[in-house]
Symmetry: D2
Subunit: 133 residues, 4 copies
């Protein structure tokens, strides 16, 4: 149920404090979400083109626990927690050798191209949240 995605820290990710710049953890977990969705056979580009829907982050609660550094090999984990008709709550973490560096609760909403709330199509919801079906 938990998806894992590996990544490496490069120069672009660091700041003058010698550690990963705080906003970049949001990039890391977005990569994790993209790979999680892909691994379930959901094509975000096709959702947008064919159904006119996108997933957007509506809320995030994030704890910055320990700093990641240049050259670190990190793992992003993604675990679906709950879902309603138009929302999905995910638990995401960034780990280094099993140690939690960053943890977030991410609320995704399903939107039309125009930005209005939309119901998550039932088959997509079932792919993303199999345990709830």
């Amino acid at each position: 149920m938990t998806h894992s995605f590996p990544l490496r820290v490069y120069y672009e990710d660091t700041d003058l404090a010698g550690i990963v710049y705080y906003a970049n953890y949001l990039k890391f977990i977005e990569r994790g979400r993209s790979e999680w969705v892909r691994s379930l056979g959901v094509d975000q580009g096709r959702l947008r083109r064919e159904l006119g829907i996108v997933f957007a982050v509506r809320r995030i609660e994030a704890d910055f626990l320990r700093p990641a550094r240049f050259d670190d090999e990190l793992t992003v984990t993604t675990r679906p927690a709950t879902a309603t008709g138009a929302r999905i709550l995910l638990e995401q973490e960034v780990l280094r050798a099993g140690e939690r560096l960053f943890a977030a609760q991410v609320t995704l909403v399903c939107l039309t191209d125009g930005g209005a709330p939309a119901r998550i199509p039932a088959d997509i919801r079932q792919r993303l949240m199999p345990a709830l079906h």
Copy 2:
């Protein structure tokens, strides 16, 4: 008590959805915090070099309310809420023509160069949080 900082949305800030990429709001509010601190006569570089302390974001709760777009003129507001010996809680928002697009509660901690928690020096705390003194 509320500090305001203007910024413009450039190409670099947008993504293929035609709106500001979600992680970039964290860049925007970090610029706001840097200008807020500067406006109070606190020099982050000197704190680091002379006192060996830095402020780091420990936690963030953020709501993405409406999308910002290319060329938008935005305002970042920063308002100190509470402070303890080693922590400061800030309320930050990103507005467009008075409309809230993004709102966050940001917990800052004071750390030594080595990453250990440190007390915020009294004079710095008083500059950042005058209403509490």
Copy 3:
């Protein structure tokens, strides 16, 4: 004939070497180009929506001369050099207190939405390159 645009270096711009990350100079000069175009009364959004054309960078030759640092106040200068039917060559620099830190020759091309080369509309060309008319 030379457009100037001021900017400040924030945490997001730096890397672990304590200086501005090299790719970020390309962000800085893109902000400078956006403000230069705006200052001439050209609206990039309208060009895209109404005429279906965009300007894209086709080539860049860039010299990284001296490092910029956190908190630096920089100036981006933009000067049109030459133009042909579908191309514009710009000279851009990043300066700190008059000292050149970065210098680039940037070749812009005019493209249709589909990515095909397009002639620059005569009135736009005249606004961008008045000295050539």
Copy 4:
């Protein structure tokens, strides 16, 4: 002699034109250089800590040939071309399914921590440029 490094295009890499933002190709090739150096057994962190030297980009000539898009699987290639005492010239490309999207000539210089030019240590030079020895 040519090092290859695969990467995926994520949301963070794109802009409102629906393609990879031009500055991000410089991030991509920097990741390629980091992996190339690592593959040769050279540890950038140790060079900095033990020998007090870093490699910095001094000049880049870059052609943006075709746009990369969201979800694209790209390859970054890195090939050392020539080296002198303190400089290395690299040829780097970004490819999609064998098609060149981006090509650059990158001049690296060896610097001391203080930013002064330094000779590349002979053993490092031999690792990076074996064909020249």
